[in-house]
Each structure stands twice: as structure tokens, then as C-alpha cells.
Subunit: 715 residues, 2 copies
């Protein structure tokens, strides 16, 4: 008997997607029951392997004999589908295993989705599957389907979809039902459909990895409600996305809310920032709506990738052209400047009143041949990397005639062409004609252009090298020692490090920190300030007060001994009044730095994906403005660069109007080092530098305020 | 003979939408010609009035006699449709007028859309129509249709839509064709359809105003490529939108680009800011996509308005529920907390594993009766203001059975219920059943929730009073005099006012300005600074240099005579080096102000809508961050308040973390006064206060830097 981990992926794959025989346990002859739907679909799907039904009552269902028990089932039998009541599933699984079957789809509900008792049943089921070495899809799923084999183990209302190039992996069975019917209505099909259910064993990541090798699948789409092992998902998706486009809709945005956190980084790092960072790192395209998922999947499955962002719009009217042109830029595309040759060729074919600029408007009288000829001309233009053809039902020509004329031109092109048939009833035959020929067709101009956009982004992403994390730039040993000292000084299971200790950790990572020194009295502070050289900044020292400026605990620009002494007294008095319970240990002093741009860098641990690093607008405004970018740590330099490009705080480091450029490189370096620190030391729960002051170009960046929280046993 | 202005709206309306007889000039018996399509559609539409065809060749077409000329047409004849070649249109119009007809639809193309010659023809046509007193729709349009009369004067491919409650006014004829077919496919219809063409006479504003009184129209939708008279549109839309929802898609976002402008306000005020401001002021709902236009129109036409934002989601599966719940907040809605009674009632009906929280998940076995019963329970909950029912094709129940069961519950409710049927093929009969019963049904969860969102926003907007602009808060006479003095000082036809003059104009409006005084030499500056009291700020005085800080022309915090003298020399030297050609007149000095929050307020003239006022983040960051809001001037105080709420700069005036609150009221006041200035003095092309410093609460707001540009003859 093998433990699941010892089974190579190909082994379980074949049992699910190339079974020689399937056993259905819990069949019914009542057409209103799920146990009937399973048989109906398997029979209708044209599954060519052996089909064995099991029910103690025996008899025949849909011309198939029903065996009284699993043991009686003859060979071949590679896969079991279990629709027994939840309480009977474990025994059924034992019987399935005893019959020599090593793969099961458990359709039964009644597990963790129904509460505590179900959850206990599910834990037991997982343990049992592992012990027996039976790989499981489910429970609480609607099964899997393979349109090419063919095989449909679901109980979805028929018909299944036509065989297609898009695989769909879903945490929701109902969404499988919805997209099947939508696919049928919109003229596309699936390669494989996987309803994962509660994932007691096989997960979205297992199927994602396995589908990379499926010859029928060109695009993988995911409906995700969460992720089991975040980092494993990222690793797998990073590999798969280089081979095939992976698109995901991740739901549950509203569910988690923000976690309670005392750093800005923590407050801003909700669950969605983790998923966004994971998708970005791995090259998974995150979509916003269910419709987009399949709009984009069709384009990626069916169209060649463009070699640039220049698009031409071909239409027979002004309105559709301007609707499309309006969204070109928002989709990261450009309206191609048509070459003079192209315009001349168009002019020869088109009436004088037509527009040979881009969008090309052939006018309402354009017939099918003219559509085809103009498309050919546009595709020959070297400035055109992709074309959107848009038309309402033409006044004089049936839409299917236009579609038929366009078809050979589109198939003969190495550039992507997408079609917008702006209608519904009249264009239905044309939509089917194009879809059958694997040409991406849409209803609205905005959708049509968006499809070209995702193709261009995919092409550009594939052209970039896979990001690699450079050698640890942090001084590992030094950081280790600094952290050990800091933890010892903390003398507790976890909590915020003292500022000096936090500064020492950062310095050990190679990040410059503004020197900071403690003074316990006004006289001591004045003497220290003299040594640091005036002017200095003063900050309250208290382990109990996180945001010092909230209690008047920060004073800047102290230029003399007298000023320092007076400020010391004021700070103590104000803090005492504001927080009588807090321990006040005196103040910290820092020399004032030269001016520069202030940013925030930080890191926090995401429960799904581990260390996340953040960059954004510094100071108090970071939360108000939400001008921040997140990424997984450790951080490839290219991605750090992209984080800066995504934020105003990062863009203005290069200078803006009379704002002088700052040392962008030093900020990048600090960000990469901080990410490495967070990645290498899992005990760091949160680290935040706010602000990091970026000095003039070449002058470096200095951490002005550093906070590090160490996780304790309970945190 | 009446000039068009003398014809009351009702008169032209009846000629177009209640003609006793219609003459078609330029008919054809060739089915591939537009002149045939016109007759075909009028006949098919079931138009009950007289139908007269005109063609020199005579004969019969579709059983209607063809008259050789217009003069021969018998009574009644109230409306002419002209499909003659462009060059013949003017003569045709004369003949139409001679026959006593005072309304014409000119379908013919070949006018301004084809270039200079066509434009000249069009000007002539407009002049002629005005002279003759014939009201015109078009030219270059596809006509109008009334599904209730019925009457279809277009040549769109049939069928026309069913009679509905939505009117569509379009600057594009092709878009009329697209939406007609989409409406037919999605199961809704129109009340009236208007293709405006080149609008030589009647415009979108004319029809918008007239449709307010149309009993068949509940919602007015607009496809707009621009606007003729912006302020008239705003006035009309403001009145109409209080009576009926008005939705608009405005295209051409990409066309205009940003105008070249030397103020931040001007640089940020593109054409879209004008339209956004106009729509916001008038209560027109701007949609982003063509699909949204009709998704939302159906909801507004068919659903009662909710009395709050609380929505319940009723579904038979987890996935659709979470997809819907995810977008609740983004649509301005809240998931209702279900009352304990509601949950108890649901628990009695539903299996134990079902969820009686919101979203309510009845589980996959839910049948039609259960859908209806649970919907009834949710609608009875006082916390629920609207419900979204979502289902994929249910595994055991036909979708049309679910629809039929829901129907009486929805019709019997005073709360809005929208339905998401997540499918295409299997749900088609259910979609038609619901649509025929005027129940809004959608394909995707995201669309379904968005429809509830627009209903809630409409309800909230109707509950607010129409904004009224308060009495002019600017001191009219004082401002007039200050401006006259400033213009005299300018001594040119237009340009930037000298800083002292600009400051005087603002002060005359009741906006506090930081005192500013000029000094021509270092010694003079030092003496002036002593009088103002230290510390002072120094700024270069030069009519040729707009952004003084770009050339080192701004120095802050000068605390002594010596510092002022040294700074004067430095400023002169640096500016000379940077701009050797510029006139350097010395410096301006200001006393340093107490700290505060800095914002920008400004106004600029929009070519469509006149004076626009802007509020946003001050200083150099305004352009980088684009944290700005625009509105039409003059500005109701409620709208000024909303501008502050829309921007981070405005929100933080109320204080944020350790950032102290500033004098928000003073900022509001300054914004309203500035808007009035811009509205009352059309010669002010641009005015910008950057920064306006908002001092501590109760301390006011002070304009630190004021710039005003007066338009000259040529600017």
C-alpha cells in the first residue's frame, strides 16, 4: 500500500482521467435524485470504458446491471464515484480500496461545510484515504468531466459542453454548472472540468500542475475560494504559467476584512494583497468577474499572441469604433498608426466618405467581401499587431456572411484578430460559426478590446525572464546575531523590539539607519545631543506606546542644549498626561538628516503566503492614501522595480516637476534587503521602516524609524 | 411660417411621434437598398397612419402606391422621411415645406461627416430649415421608432424590439442597430428610439426634455459623442432626472487628450472632467460600458426603489453567493443582517446544512417552491431593502419553474428583487418569462448586484434636495473693481495678472490672501521683511516665469535681515542663469504662515460646460497624484462638500491619525467663492490658488499663491 505522497502525479492522473472502468456507489433509478444524474451523464457523455453500478437493491438502470456490493464489481475498475450518505462514506472507501481501486470522487455532502460533526468526519476521511493510499477528489463536489475522452462524472443538468481547449478547476460545483451552460450558450467548450469540493486530498494546486501536461488543455482557468498551501501554489503556478496561460477568479474579498494590526504594513495587508502578490509573482492572470474569466480564456486559447501593442479597429460605423477606441489605452494597447501603403490600399476599396484612419470605418454599406479585404490589408501593416473587427448586424448583409468571409483571413493570419458582433438574436449563427472555428467573438466593443489587451500582456510577460531572487543580500550571520541579541533583550516570548535593537537588526542587513541613542534625563539628553551635533530630533522612549507622535512624543529640529532640555520635560509631561499607565523610559535622540523623499517599506506575514513586503508613500499618509504595493518576499529586483513603478511614491523618486530626484537605487536595495530579512527570519512577524528617507541621488537612503515585532508562542 | 424657436415643443413632438401620415422621399424597390428598408420597416411596424411613397418612377412598392413627386401626396401628411442624395436634400426640403409638412427626418448621408463640402451643405440645410420652419432630425441618421404607437422609420434589420419602457437617444445610428438586436436577444424592448445623426436642428437635449413627458418612457438612455450646448443640457437634464432616471454613455474619452495649459487646474481639466461634472450636477448616471447602460436601465425601469442599502442574497449554492457578496460593498450596498425571526423562518424550511445567514444558501436540492418561500421570508425582513436571487441551472428543477414560482412574489413586493440566472442555453426560457413580466434578470452575479446598486443610488439621490447655488458669496462690486484695476495694470489683451493684482481680486471675493509685497533690491527686501516681521518667505518676481520654484525662485523661513539680503542675491543669480531671457523684477515677500494642511483650489473654462472648479491635493503633487475633484461653477455648498469627500486632500482636512484637523469650513467657503468668481467673470480663463493653506480649526484658510489668467481676444 502506498502513501499518497509516494504516488507520482501521473499515476493518480490516469485513474481519474483515463479510467478503464468506473464504479458508481449510491446509484438511484429516480430521475430527481443526484444518484441518477451521475449515471445519466456518464452514459450520455459517451464514456467508452466499463461502467459498474452499485446498489444493494440490484436490478438494471439505463441498461446497466446494478451490483449489490462493491466486491461484486468485475474488472476493469480504476475509479469509484461515491454518492453514499456522509456517515457511510468511510466504510464505502474501505470497500473501494478492498476492491483494489485507488482513486475516488466523493460527491457526498455532509462534511466540513455543515459544521463541527461534518468536519470531524472529514478529518477522519482524510486520514483514512492517506492510510489506504486512495486518492480523493471531494467530498462535497460534483465530480470531474473530460470532454475529449469523453467522460462526465458530474450530475450537472445536461448537455455537457463541446470538447474545447479550456480547463476549469473550481472550488464551487455550482459555478461549474453555471459556466457549463454559459459555454454552451456562447459557443465554446472545455477540455476538462474539475469540481474540487472540500479538497480532503487533491487540491487546486495538484490539478494545476497536472494540467500543464494535458495535451487537450491550452488555457487553465480557476475559480478559487482560498488556497491550501500558498507557497506551493505559487511555485507550481510559476512553472505552469510559463507553459500555458493560467487565469483565476479569487472570491471572498469581502469575507476576511483587514486584520487588526498595529503597524501600517499590517493594517494594509489584507488577504487580497497576499493573493494579488502571489498571482503577480507566478504570472497567474487575476480577473475581476466570472465573465472576464472565459472572455479572456477564449482569446488566450484561440488567438496567436501579438508582437506588440498596436491594434487596428475595423468597423462599418462610427459608434462601435469610438466605443472600442475609448478603451484601447485602458487595456494597455495603442491605436496603431496605419502605414501610408495601408491607407492607400484602403482608399482604393472604400467609398470617399469612409475613414481610412484608425478606427477604419468602411460605412454601413460594407458587404462581406469588403470586410474580408480590409481586414487582409490591415493585417499586412507592420504597425498593426492585432485587429478588432466590430459590427452591429449590418443593414444589408447577414452577419453570418460577414463571419464566413472573415474566417479564412483570420485563420491565415499569425496576428490575433478578435470579433465583436454587437447584437444577440440576429448575430447568433455568426457567433456559432466563428466560435466553432476557434475565433474569439464578443458582444460588446469593450469586451472585444479587453481580449486583445490580455493577449498583449501575456506576450509581454512571456518575453520577460522568469524573475529570480538574487543571492541573499543581507548579512546572514550578522542579522542572526543582531536578532538573537534583540530577542534576548526583549526577554519575553514576543513583542516589539526596543528601537536600538530594531535598528541594529536593520543595520546588520545592510540598511542604513539613522543613529539613535537613549537618554534618561534632560541633562543626559542635552549632552548626547551635543555629541550627535545639532540640530537633533527627540522621540519618546516607551515600550507601551506604539505611535509616539499620537501623544506628543516627537520633537524635531532641536538646535541647542536649552531646547533639548526643555523638550525633554515637555515630552515627559505630555506623554504622562496622555497615557498615565505607560512606562516612560526617557527619550531617544537622532541627528536631523538632510531633506529627501520619505517612503515606507515594511514586511508582514500573510497566513496563506508567508512574508509579504510593502512599499508606499511614507509618513502618516500611507493609510489614508493607500498608495502602496505588496509583493512576496524574498523579492526579485525586477519585481521591486515594478512595485516602485506602480506607486506614486515610487514614481516620484525619479523626480517630478521641481521635486528633485532621490536615490531610487538605494530605496530598491533597502526594499530587497528588507524582504530577505522577512523571508529568512520567520520569527519576524512585522517590520516597518516609516519613514525611509531617500536622500539625493547617490547619497543613499536612511531608515529614520524602525519597528520590528517578534512573534511569540501565541502570536 | 414659424421660426423653429416659436414652435412649442409639443408641436414638433406630435409631428414626429404622432404623425397622421408619413411621406417617404427616395424609396426603392431594391431590397438591398436603404430606401427599401425604410418602407419595409414602416409597414412591418404596423404604423396605422397614412404611408405615402415618392419616386419619380411611380408604381407600387409593398402594396403602396408610389407618387411621382411630393406635391402629389394626398392628406394626411405630417412627417417626411428624406433619403435623397445629399445634393438634392435642400430642394426636397423645400418641396416638403411647400406641401405643408413641418417635420422631416433626413436619413441621407454626405454632410459634415464627409468633410468640408458636406459641412457647407449642412450649414445651408440648417439655415434653410430655420428659414422654412421645418424641424429636422438628422441628417445622416437612421431615423426614429416608437414601439407603442407603433412606428418604425429606420432601415435597421428587422425585427424591431418589443414595446418597452426605455427610451434610447443616440448620436450613432449603428449603435441603435446593435442595441435593438441585443434587446431582442435579452428579452427587453424600447419605448422610443431616436438616431440623432448630425443634429442640424433637433439635439439630444431637445429629445431629453420632450421624453420627460412621454407616458411610455420610464427611463431615458443616451449614447453621446458630445454635446451642443453644455449648460442647456445640464439645465434640462437636471429637471428631467428628477422625474425619470437618465443614463448616459459618453464616448470619445480618448479623442480630446489634455489641453496644453500652464496651470495645474488647466492641465488636469480634460473634456471628461467637464462631462463628469455636468452629469454629476444634473443627476445623470454615467455608465462605463454599453452593456451597463441597458443592465441598469432595465433595473430602473422595472424595479421599485429600495428604502435603504441592505441587500439579501438568496441562492442554492455557495459559489454564486460569494461571487455576489464580493461586489456588494463596491456597489455602495451592505449585506443586510437578517433579523432573528427571518433566520428562524428560514431554518424551519431549509435543511440543517443550509446557511440562513446572508447570503442565504438553500443548497442544491432547492425546488421552485422553496425559492419562492424563502424569497417571501427575506422580503418581509425590515433589514432587507432589496434581494438578489442567484442560481445556476438547478440540478433537479427546470429554471423556468423557478422563475414562474418567483414571479408572483416579486410582483407582489414593494422592494426591488433582481434575478441572476447564471447560464445561457438552459436558462433562456426562464429569462424570457421574467423579462416579459418586467423583472430584471442578468447572467452574472456581478451584474446582478450592480443593478441593485444603481437602484439604491437613485433612491438616495432622489431623497436629497436639488442643489441650489446660494446667493453670490463674493463681493460683486469689489471684485469687479479689483478685476478692472488688474486688467488695466495688465495693459494687454490677456495674460497672467501680476501677483499683487491677483491677490487683490481674491481678497475682493472674500478669500484671505497671504500679504505679499514687492522689493526691487536686497536692501529694500530686508527693510520690507523687518516690517512684515520675521520669518518671511521670498519668491522671485518675473512676468515670464510661471513656476518660480523650477528656477530656484522660492526661499522659505528667512529669519533675519542678513538672510533676506543673501537670499535676494542668490535668487536673482540662479534665475538669471536658468532663464537668461526672462525679465527679473526683484522679489515678493510674504510673512511665514502658521503650519496647516495645503490644498489646491482652482477654476478653468471648459469649452462645453463653461467654468469648472477644482479641489485637490496641493503643492507639487497635485498632478502626480491626481487627487482632484471637479464641479461646475457656480457651486452649491452640498456639492463642494461632496468634492472634499471624494478626495484624500478633502477627507484629511477632518484630521487623520496624528494629523490635526484643519479649518474645513474655511476651505469649503473659499471653494464656493472661487467658483462664483469664475462663474461671474467669464474673462477669467484660469484661476488657481496653490496652495491654499487650511489653518487650525476656526483659524481660516489663506491663499498662499494666487494666479489668475485673463482671456484675451485670441485666447
Amino acid at each position: 500500500m502506498n502513501a499518497p505522497a509516494a504516488v507520482p502525479p501521473a499515476a493518480w492522473w490516469d485513474a481519474f482521467f483515463a479510467p478503464r472502468g468506473i464504479v458508481i456507489v449510491g446509484v438511484s433509478r429516480d430521475p430527481s435524485k443526484l444518484g441518477f444524474g451521475l449515471i445519466r451523464n456518464l452514459v450520455k457523455s459517451g464514456y467508452a470504458g466499463a461502467l459498474h453500478l452499485v446498489n444493494p437493491k440490484g436490478g438494471m438502470i439505463l441498461d446497466h446491471p446494478v451490483y449489490p456490493d462493491i466486491a461484486s464489481v468485475p474488472d476493469p475498475a480504476d475509479l469509484a464515484i461515491i454518492a453514499a450518505p456522509a456517515a457511510a462514506v468511510a466504510d464505502t472507501l474501505r470497500a473501494v480500496h478492498a476492491r483494489g481501486i485507488r482513486a475516488a470522487i466523493i460527491a457526498s455532502a455532509g462534511f466540513k461545510e455543515v459544521g463541527k460533526e461534518g468536519a470531524a468526519l472529514e478529518v477522519e476521511l482524510g486520514r483514512l484515504a492517506h492510510e489506504l493510499g486512495v486518492r480523493i477528489v471531494g467530498p462535497n463536489c460534483i465530480g470531474i468531466a473530460d470532454m475529449h475522452l469523453p467522460m462526465d462524472t458530474t450530475f450537472l443538468p445536461p448537455p455537457a459542453t463541446a470538447p474545447g481547449e479550456i480547463a476549469f478547476i473550481s472550488h464551487s460545483g455550482a459555478v461549474c454548472g453555471a459556466v457549463t451552460d454559459i459555454a454552451n450558450g456562447r459557443g465554446f467548450g472545455f477540455s476538462k472540468l474539475v469540481s474540487l469540493g472540500n479538497q480532503v486530498d487533491l487540491t487546486e494546486t495538484d490539478f494545476l500542475e497536472a494540467l500543464a501536461g494535458d495535451p487537450h488543455t491550452r488555457v487553465i482557468t480557476l475559480y478559487m475560494e482560498g488556497v491550501g498551501d500558498g507557497r506551493r501554489f505559487v511555485d507550481a503556478a510559476s512553472r505552469v504559467a510559463r507553459q500555458k496561460p493560467v487565469l483565476a477568479i479569487k472570491v471572498g474579498r469581502s469575507a476576511g476584512g483587514r486584520r487588526a494590526a498595529s503597524s501600517h504594513t499590517g493594517a494594509l495587508a489584507g488577504a487580497e494583497e497576499g493573493f494579488d502578490s502571489a498571482f503577480r509573482r507566478s504570472g497567474v492572470v487575476r480577473v475581476d468577474t466570472l465573465e472576464q474569466l472565459f472572455d479572456w480564456a477564449r482569446a488566450l486559447a484561440w488567438c496567436p499572441l501579438p508582437r506588440g501593442r498596436g491594434v487596428a479597429i475595423l468597423t462599418n460605423a462610427g459608434g462601435p469604433g469610438v466605443l472600442a477606441a475609448d478603451v484601447v489605452e485602458a487595456n494597455g494597447l495603442e491605436l496603431a498608426d496605419l502605414a501610408e501603403d495601408t491607407r492607400a490600399a484602403l482608399r482604393r476599396l472604400l467609398p470617399a466618405a469612409a475613414s481610412v484612419a484608425n478606427p477604419v470605418d468602411m460605412l454601413a454599406a460594407a458587404n462581406a467581401e469588403l470586410f474580408a479585404a480590409c481586414l487582409g490589408i490591415l493585417l499586412a501593416d507592420p504597425n498593426v499587431h492585432g485587429v478588432a473587427v466590430l459590427t452591429p448586424p449590418p443593414p444589408m448583409t447577414p452577419p453570418e456572411a460577414v463571419a464566413a468571409a472573415l474566417l479564412p483571413v483570420i485563420r491565415g493570419s499569425t496576428k490575433p484578430v478578435v470579433v465583436g458582433l454587437l447584437g444577440a438574436s440576429l448575430v447568433r449563427p455568426a457567433v456559432q460559426l466563428l466560435s466553432d472555428a476557434r475565433i474569439a467573438v464578443y458582444t460588446f466593443p469593450e469586451q472585444t478590446i479587453a481580449a486583445l489587451g490580455v493577449l498583449a500582456r501575456r506576450a509581454e510577460w512571456l518575453a520577460t525572464a522568469a524573475p529570480s531572487v538574487a543571492e541573499p543580500p543581507v548579512r546572514g550571520q550578522a542579522a542572526l546575531e543582531a536578532l538573537a541579541r534583540a530577542r534576548a533583550a526583549l526577554g519575553e516570548p514576543g513583542g516589539w523590539l526596543a528601537p536600538e535593537d530594531a535598528a541594529a537588526v536593520l543595520e546588520a542587513c545592510g540598511i542604513a539607519v539613522q543613529r539613535i541613542q537613549a537618554a534618561g534625563s534632560a541633562a543626559q539628553a542635552a549632552e548626547l545631543a551635543r555629541k550627535l551635533s545639532f540640530p537633533v530630533a527627540m522621540k519618546l522612549a516607551s515600550p507601551d506606546i506604539t505611535h509616539k507622535s499620537d501623544v506628543g512624543g516627537v520633537v524635531l529640529g532641536l538646535g541647542s542644549r536649552e531646547a533639548v532640555e526643555a523638550a525633554f520635560e515637555t515630552v515627559m509631561r505630555t506623554a504622562k498626561a496622555a497615557r498615565p499607565d505607560a512606562r516612560l523610559l526617557g527619550v531617544h535622540l537622532q541627528k536631523m538628516l538632510p531633506p529627501g523623499q520619505e517612503v515606507i517599506v515594511g514586511a508582514v506575514r500573510d497566513p496563506q503566503f508567508g512574508p509579504l513586503v510593502m512599499f508606499g508613500s511614507g509618513g502618516v499618509e500611507v493609510e489614508g492614501l493607500k498608495d502602496v504595493a505588496f509583493a512576496l518576499a524574498p523579492l526579485p529586483r525586477e519585481e521591486a522595480d515594478a512595485m516602485l513603478a506602480r506607486t506614486w511614491a515610487g514614481r516620484k523618486l525619479g523626480g517630478f516637476r521641481n521635486l528633485a530626484a532621490a536615490d531610487r537605487e538605494a530605496v530598491l536595495d533597502a526594499l530587497v534587503r528588507l524582504a530577505r530579512l522577512a523571508a529568512d527570519f520567520p520569527e519576524i512577524a512585522e517590520v516597518e521602516v516609516n519613514p525611509l528617507r531617500a536622500l539625493a541621488v547617490g547619497q543613499g537612503a536612511v531608515a529614520v524609524d524602525v519597528r520590528i515585532r517578534i512573534s511569540g508562542a501565541g502570536s
